[in-house]
């Protein structure tokens, strides 16, 4: 483990060295240490198994150096990185690489400049930083216990599958630049996602839990919730293909935003002309009841950071307001490329997330933090069912992709768990998992929102980097196709 002081000393001493080098106009030095711990669960009553399949971790650290060089009448920019060496020798080596790698990029304008003061301080958990191997393993078994106990108490002890994981991410970083940035950050993230099934009943349930602190983290509760949800959906029925009013639960809302909406409101998608929102800034793109923003400074949210990986304090970036597109997520590079006299994009979202941590080896790309989805007039969750009256409550979806490319807006997904038929504004029967495919266009979904719930929960999806503070959302006119008839 490399402590924060070592990282700060490295970047502060390093910038002094780099500033003195020939042809250097500006420079930014980033140093980080990260550990990503995963405890994977796999329990099957009918197949020999391990329960906690493998407690594992990866650890990485190093320096990333971005240098702006004078090159005749032009400037050239070079990036160099060195792994596992946060010393002056490491800085010198990274600098040589940056010099060798420099290119003339006409779109590069300037390194980031300091803007404002960070909101978050001291928000990591020292107990997580120092967590022992035994404690890590124990967290996994607790998650399993939550699920197993619930099943046993309800007398289900055959055809059970329990899977998922506990993930712990520890991050430390420091960054200094010739533009006056001198910042550091330290964060701890704990998440668990547990899925359990009673396979012979074809039911599946999901439970999850997130925290920045060990004391607030409860994998047992997540395990229990997954079992409860699976049991509740026994006796599921199929539906015919057609158009339905739908309440999307928190996981589907997160899935849709993570895979479709948020990539479409990133300046990187604008840059590549691959977003359905190109040319739509200031225009109505969704129901007037929808507000969406990214906020990396929310206390207690697992996507929060004190500063971005460019040293910019995190904060709120409004994206959709009363249905109007009002902003895009940006890093420094694309913010400067696209700013003009009419519009600017606060560069709060330049992060170096890769391999589960803030990676010194890559340059900052645009990454969301905490995505907050709100309604203009929010309603109690229960009332969303009466708003759709007859339809489907969708609790979990899977493999949500922009099937014809992001710009076209078409997406598809399948409904795999935690879902119900709704009749007369009430839950009627469970929906049989894996029998429905959603085929829709995201613009139709956003414009057909009729209600948003007040209650929200921090929700993550597999492979997603951000957290969505997700409500439940009622939408009319969703096309659902009946699939996999041969399985029945």
């Amino acid at each position: 483990m490399i402590d924060l002081e070592a990282l700060r000393n490295c970047v502060r001493n390093g910038i002094d060295f780099v500033k003195k080098q020939r042809d250097v106009i500006d420079a930014e030095i980033f140093a980080s240490w990260n550990e990503h711990i995963t405890v994977r669960l796999n329990y099957t009553t009918d197949i020999p198994c391990n329960g906690v399949h493998e407690p594992k971790s990866t650890q990485f650290s190093g320096i990333g150096l971005l240098v702006v060089f004078k090159a005749g009448k032009e400037i050239k920019v070079g990036f160099g990185s060195v792994s596992n060496n946060v010393t002056s020798k490491g800085v010198a080596e990274a600098f040589q690489k940056a010099r060798k790698n420099k290119v003339y990029d006409p779109d590069f304008k300037s390194l980031p400049v300091p803007t404002g003061k960070p909101v978050l301080e001291d928000y990591h958990d020292p107990a997580v930083m120092g967590i022992s191997d035994e404690a890590i393993v124990d967290l996994g078994w607790r998650g399993l216990k939550g699920s197993l106990t619930e099943y046993n108490q309800n007398h289900y002890n055959k055809s059970i599958i329990i899977g998922g994981d506990i993930a712990i991410i520890k991050e430390r970083m420091a960054i200094v630049s010739t533009k006056g940035i001198d910042e550091f950050d330290e964060s701890t993230i704990l998440t668990t996602n547990i899925t359990s099934m009673i396979e012979k009943e074809s039911v599946k349930g999901t439970g999850w839990n997130t925290s920045t602190h060990l004391a607030g983290f409860d994998p047992e509760e997540a395990g229990c919730a997954s079992a409860k949800s699976a049991i509740k959906t026994i006796g599921g029925e199929r539906i015919s293909s057609g158009t339905y009013n739908v309440v999307f639960g928190r996981q589907p809302v997160t899935d849709l935003f993570t895979n479709i909406v948020i990539p479409a409101v990133s300046l990187s998608s604008v840059n590549s002309s691959d977003t359905p929102f190109l040319g739509k800034l200031g225009k109505k793109i969704a129901s007037e009841s929808l507000n969406v923003y990214d906020d990396g400074a929310i206390k207690g949210a697992v996507g929060s950071k004190k500063i971005s990986c460019e040293g910019i304090p995190t904060g709120r970036t409004d994206l959709i307001h009363n249905g109007f597109l009002v902003g895009f997520l940006a890093n420094n590079y694309l913010s400067r490329k696209f700013e003009n006299v009419f519009v600017s994009f606060p560069p709060r979202n330049g992060f170096r997330y890769h391999n589960g941590g803030r990676n010194h080896n890559i340059q900052p790309r645009i990454c969301p933090t905490n995505i907050v989805v709100e309604g203009k007039d929010e309603a109690p969750s229960q009332s969303l069912l009466s708003k759709i009256n007859n339809g489907i409550y969708i609790g979990r979806i899977w493999y949500t992709y922009p099937i014809n490319g992001l710009a076209a807006g078409d997406f598809t997904s399948t409904v795999i768990a935690d879902s119900y038929l709704v009749k007369g504004g009430k839950i009627d029967k469970p929906l049989k998992p894996n029998t429905v495919r959603i085929n829709n266009n995201i613009m139709d979904v956003l414009n057909n929102i009729i209600a948003v719930s007040k209650d929200k929960k921090q929700t993550i999806v597999w492979g997603g980097e951000e957290v969505v503070l997700a409500p439940e959302i009622a939408v009319q006119g969703i096309k659902l196709d009946s699939i996999a008839g041969f399985i029945s």
């Binding site: 995963t38 099957t44 197949i47 020999p48 391990n50 329960g51 906690v52 399949h53 493998e54 407690p55 990866t58 650890q59 990485f60 190093g62 990036f79 990185s81 792994s83 060496n85 290119v103 990029d105 191997d133 393993v137 996994g140 078994w141 399993l144 216990k145 046993n152 055809s159 994981d165 993930a167 996602n193 099934m197 396979e199 840059n271 590549s272 002309s273 691959d274 080896n361 340059q363 899977w398 493999y399 949500t400 992709y401 099937i403 014809n404 490319g405 710009a407 076209a408 078409d410 598809t412 399948t414 795999i416 894996n434 495919r437 085929n439 266009n441 597999w462 096309k479 996999a484 399985i487």
Partner: protein, 496 residues
């Protein structure tokens, strides 16, 4: 080092993978240079099986060049072994404690393999280490500029190239010691074209192989230089902006799918559901299960799941992104017949899963980098070649569609249903290819599609798929997928 692991109390097995990836990289956008780099990443991963009710523990870490001396490596690996061991022992202890609540918990068993000692060298004509970064950057800049120049309707053009050599050492307490190296060269092109007021058409594709720079000079599945490949994809994308949207159908129609499309098809509906860890439910929370295996009594092994014309296999010995001699457990890789004349014959496995299924281990455990845990992955997983001329297959279709080149997939949880979009869809009328459509694809239940295959072409190809995501944490792995032209039935999907 491995002997230190073997000496630990109740350590039943341990292995170490230590590797270095040396890569050169360059990219450009719209005729403007964006970046270039030359770097080496060094990392290791240690697996330990220990404890009375043996369980896994794992530790992985990246290293810096400054640590790559014998003394530092010795110290770091010792710490890593101790950490993996501590986790394994803690895990085994908990497993024993939980046995009364969870009776199916067992000690880990590994199917036996013979220890191997071998050295495999990288194969290339043009050594990646001799290539200049400036040459790579100049190539990317020129090609992306040329792509923009194809038409005023091209909105964005991006080119990225990489070349390098990877080397990985594997040692186990069973006595295996394997040193494998391979070259890797890849070019990626991405283009967006749009008519004023129209819906953008987006295309990205790859040329690559486990060879040297000659790959991007034409020694690839397309038999084209990167420049020609990029120009082709750009022209096709521009052409598509003038095509109509494909109308969806509510009923299945006759479809002929080309080898490029079938690369993604075999990947999604054959490759993934025949991964043994998925079949044994380990992926339930992530990528799902497999409709081919419910339990030991209820599964499709030995049963007809596809047309008798169809055979599919996974083979790391053939050239492609999934080529290797030994997997990351030291098991020799070999051809695995997954489907033979429509009958399900086997699963890709690792030693632990082979033991559970009472199958022979077949060398399919891979990890993206040494610090990741190996998991069951495809190798070169393909539909086997047939004996029909693809032109004849099309000429026999009175009313159908020709589905050309894959784009994006979405597959249901147990792989029992799929929707895959295509770059191009052509109408076939009376055996002739007529109209071009865009923003379309096909959807079907997997078994229905496989059973309805009534023609298999003789134009077998293997394509690079560089971005198969699996595992927690996610590992993005390169695999080879492909096959010949096929004909079957599916519903058409279109722009919503």
């Amino acid at each position: 080092m491995i002997q230190h692991a073997a000496s630990l109390k109740n350590c039943r097995y341990a292995d170490i993978r230590y590797g270095i990836h040396e890569t050169k990289h360059a990219n450009a956008e719209d005729g403007k240079a964006k970046g270039m780099s030359e770097d080496a990443s060094i990392s290791f991963g240690i697996r330990v099986l220990a404890g009375e009710m043996s369980a896994w523990g794992y530790y992985g870490q990246s290293l810096g060049e400054s640590e790559s001396n014998p003394k530092s490596i010795h110290k770091i690996l010792t710490l890593g072994i101790n950490k993996a061991y501590a986790r394994a022992v803690a895990n085994a202890s908990k497993k024993a404690e939980f046995k009364s609540l969870a009776p199916s918990l067992t000690a880990v068993n590994l199917a036996g393999i013979d220890p191997c000692n071998d050295t495999i060298n990288a194969v290339f004509d043009e050594d990646p280490r001799n290539l200049s970064l400036k040459e790579m950057l100049t190539l990317c800049t020129k090609i992306s500029g040329d792509m923009r120049g194809v038409s005023k309707d091209v909105q964005y053009a991006y080119v990225e190239v990489q070349t390098g050599i990877n080397r990985e050492l594997f040692c186990s307490t069973e006595g295996s010691c394997i040193d494998q190296s391979y070259a890797l060269t890849q070019g990626m092109v991405s283009v967006v074209a749009q008519k004023p007021g129209g819906v953008p058409e987006v295309c990205y594709d790859y040329a690559g192989d486990l060879l040297g720079w000659e790959v991007l000079k034409g020694k690839n599945v397309y038999k084209q230089s990167l420049s020609d490949f990029a120009a082709l994809r750009t022209r096709e994308t521009v052409e598509l902006t003038e095509a109509e949207f494909l109308p969806a159908t509510t009923e299945p129609v006759v479809v002929v799918t080309n080898p490029h499309f079938n690369a993604l098809l075999v990947h999604e509906i054959v490759g993934h559901p025949t991964e043994a860890d998925r079949a044994l439910k380990l992926e339930t929370a992530y990528a799902g299960r497999s409709w081919l295996f419910r339990d030991f009594q209820d599964n499709e092994l030995g049963k007809q799941i596809a047309s008798p014309l169809l055979t599919a296999y996974s083979d790391p010995s053939i050239q492609g992104y999934g080529h290797y001699k030994y997997d990351m457990e030291g098991t020799p890789g070999k051809r695995i017949n997954l489907i033979e004349n429509g009958i399900l014959r086997g699963f890709m496995n690792g030693r632990e899963y082979a033991a559970i299924l009472s199958h022979q281990p077949n060398g399919s455990m891979r990890a993206t980098e040494p610090h990741y845990v190996p998991i069951v992955r495809m190798t070169n997983t393909v539909f086997a070649n047939g004996n029909r001329n693809p032109a004849e297959i099309i000429s026999e279709v009175k009313d159908g569609y020709y589905i050309v080149n894959h784009r994006i997939p979405s597959i249901s949880e147990s792989r029992e249903n799929f929707r895959i979009s295509a770059q191009k869809v052509f109408k076939i009328e009376n055996g002739e290819i007529t109209k071009l459509f865009r923003q379309g694809g096909i959807t079907a239940d997997s078994k229905d599609f496989l059973m309805n295959i009534d023609a298999v072409g003789n134009d077998f190809e293997v394509f690079p798929i560089p971005n198969c995501g699996k595992g927690q944490p996610m590992q993005v792995m390169r695999v080879g997928n492909g096959g010949p032209t096929l004909r079957s039935r599916a519903r058409l999907t279109g722009h919503q």
